[in-house]
């Protein structure tokens, strides 16, 4: 944020503590309402209470639901220290251990953001709050950011074409309203006005906490220590480490199981981490291609 000079603000982000999430989806609704996101249709997935499915161009918060045959605490009534259930508890007619994981997922606002790095138009930019935002008046829908995100967050919004849409004239006239990419802005407009993002405001359990990233990281460490002291089963922080493959998330999490259980990558790396070497490979390949074709001229014209 140093390029903002005097206008720079402290880095803002989310700490999403999934241990207190109750799966109410107030965050999803608040986000849709505030950001005027179109509906994605109603589809029954059969995946617990999750009919949203994933983060997309039109869903910038997504609550994951995982029903597990694991105890919530490793010292629980029906559990042994290694996390498996005690046989005598089952034989005694007790209920099988069960926990219901819920996690409100969101754009990670990476310190090293793949989407921002690869954007060829400069539409994606880093704000004075250290967040990553798409300028929708500049995005031309090239789609490079979509596979460049290690989390599968950013996506292109495709509007269904109507029969009356002239297939060729419309894009040229610029009246087709979408085809651009969309993702969480960390409510850039609300931040500008001194408000917290809509999802955090609506969260009834403080599972979504908004604040300065440095302060949130401390809060997360304390929360983790508390859950560990209470023998919770599998608590861990995800994305709080500034030395990880994306330089730490601006929006990080406290999870109760492996990241992939929630549909998150276990060891995300920003693609551009490899780019200096990749450019060298590309230049070398170009030079050898040149030399190879030159060699083809050695045998004369015939």
């Amino acid at each position: 944020m140093s390029s903002y000079g005097a206008e720079a603000k402290p880095r803002m982000g989310f700490f999403t503590d999934t241990s207190v999430c109750i799966g109410c989806k107030a965050c999803e609704v608040a986000c849709k309402e505030w950001n005027l996101l179109p509906a994605d249709g109603l589809e029954w997935t059969g995946h617990s209470y999750d009919n949203t499915g994933e983060l997309s161009a039109n869903s910038w918060r997504h609550v994951a639901f995982i029903e597990q045959d694991k105890p919530l605490r490793i010292d629980g009534d029906f559990a042994t220290a290694d996390g498996t259930m005690a046989v005598d508890a089952l034989e005694g007619g007790g209920a099988a251990p069960m926990r219901w994981l819920m996690e409100s997922d969101v754009c990670k606002h990476c310190t090293h953001a793949g989407c921002l790095d690869v954007c060829p138009t400069g539409s994606l930019f880093r704000t004075e709050f250290g967040t990553v935002v798409v300028q929708e008046d500049i995005c031309n829908g090239c789609g490079y950011c979509v596979p460049a995100c290690p989390f599968g967050v950013i996506d292109r919004r495709e509007l269904p074409r109507k029969p009356e849409d002239a297939p060729l004239a419309l894009p040229l006239l610029g009246s087709k309203e979408d085809g651009r990419v969309w993702k969480c802005t960390l409510c850039y407009d609300r931040l500008k006005g001194g408000h917290e993002p809509a999802c955090a405001k609506a969260c009834p359990t403080h599972s979504i906490q908004f604040g300065e990233v440095d302060e949130l990281r401390e809060r997360a460490e304390q929360r983790l220590a508390k859950l560990e002291a209470q023998n919770w089963n599998g608590p861990r922080l995800y994305g709080h480490d500034a030395d990880d493959g994306v330089g730490g998330f601006g929006a990080f999490f406290l999870l109760l199981d492996e990241p992939e259980v929630y549909g998150l990558p276990p060891d995300p790396v920003v693609p551009t981490q490899h780019l200096p070497r990749l450019w060298k490979t590309t230049a070398l390949a170009a030079a050898v291609m040149f030399a190879g074709i030159a060699a083809a001229f050695a045998g004369g014209a015939e």
């Binding site: 790095d117 074709i293 083809a296």
Partner: protein, 303 residues
């Protein structure tokens, strides 16, 4: 291999690119290879080969921008590609390479047609000559610089493969369009390109291991096989009969062009298949994290 996942849903997004992008990888390859063939033919005094590679390259390159513009979600904003130059974005770098290269080839072709031979023509041909190899190989960086496992993990091979394939298809196109008595360099480039491409693709599949299994499955697998078969057939025909028979040269060249197109399609589709199954994202990442943990805490290393 299996891995935990969220109801089997993908983790990384499939690309939203349309088939136009795969065709661009092909036409851009022809253009990039033709630029080099053209420049070297000029230097070698092979005017006949220089002329045919100029027409082929200019035509292939003229198709590139419309293909890419058609792929955009907002085609009317294509000029926004030239708002900035970003070395962190292979697409940005590539847009600039393409604008320079296609501008040069179109101008050179027009000057040739109008018989305006002079310093301006030499300049445009020189610019085209130099922009050819980067145009052919940057597309490897474009795909590799993503979170798609089968593309990202092939970052040491893709630029080489696209360079070899560009050499093969530019040589093949020129061998079709040029009389045999002056098409020797084109035939040798085509054959050498195919051989290099086959070896590099094999090396890539071997190195990718488990992540590379998408090259044995679905559309990527089918087109990988088609590409290899057509490439071998074309190269053998070109090597055996291409020097004596124009018809054999044309047939061999066509087979190699087909092989090159099939290769692009195979690599393109492999990315989609790789993104669709979360195990390709999860398993290598878990392995990587475990190795890193073992290196930083040797005592607690898992066996």
């Amino acid at each position: 291999m299996t891995a935990d996942s969220y109801y089997g849903r993908p983790i990384v997004n499939e690309p939203v690119w349309k088939p136009e992008v795969a065709f661009y990888l092909f036409t851009g390859g022809i253009a990039g290879g033709s630029a080099v063939l053209h420049g070297l033919a000029k230097l070698a005094g092979n005017e006949r080969l220089a002329r045919s590679t100029l027409w082929i390259g200019a035509a292939a390159e003229a198709v590139c921008p419309p293909l890419l513009i058609s792929d955009l979600g907002r085609p009317e904003r294509f000029l926004n590609m030239l708002r900035v130059f970003k070395v962190t974005s292979p697409m940005s770098v590539g847009s600039w390479i393409l604008i320079v290269s296609s501008g040069a080839s179109t101008t050179a072709a027009a000057l040739e047609r109008l018989r305006l031979l002079g310093p301006l023509q030499a300049l445009t041909e020189g610019v085209w000559f130099l922009s050819g190899p980067p145009l052919a190989t940057y597309t490897g960086a474009l795909l590799a610089n993503t979170a798609i496992p089968v593309w990202s993990e092939a970052r040491d091979e893709l630029p080489w493969i696209f360079g070899a394939s560009a050499t093969a298809c530019a040589g093949a196109a020129a061998a079709i369009a040029t009389p045999t008595w002056c098409a020797g360099p084109a035939r040798r480039a085509a054959i050498g390109g195919v051989v290099a491409e086959l070896g590099l693709v094999h090396a890539m599949e071997k190195k990718l291991g488990f992540v590379g299994e998408v090259y044995e499955q679905g559309e990527a697998g089918e087109y990988a096989k088609v590409s290899k078969a057509l490439g071998i057939a074309g190269a053998v025909l070109l090597a055996a009969r291409g020097r004596r028979s124009r018809a054999a040269a044309a047939a061999g060249g066509a087979l190699i062009l087909g092989s090159s197109l099939a290769l692009r399609w195979s690599v393109f589709r492999a990315g989609f298949q790789s993104a669709r199954d979360p195990k390709y994202t999860v398993i290598p990442q878990k392995k990587r994290a475990a190795i890193r943990r073992a290196e930083s805490h040797p005592a607690s290393a898992p066996d």
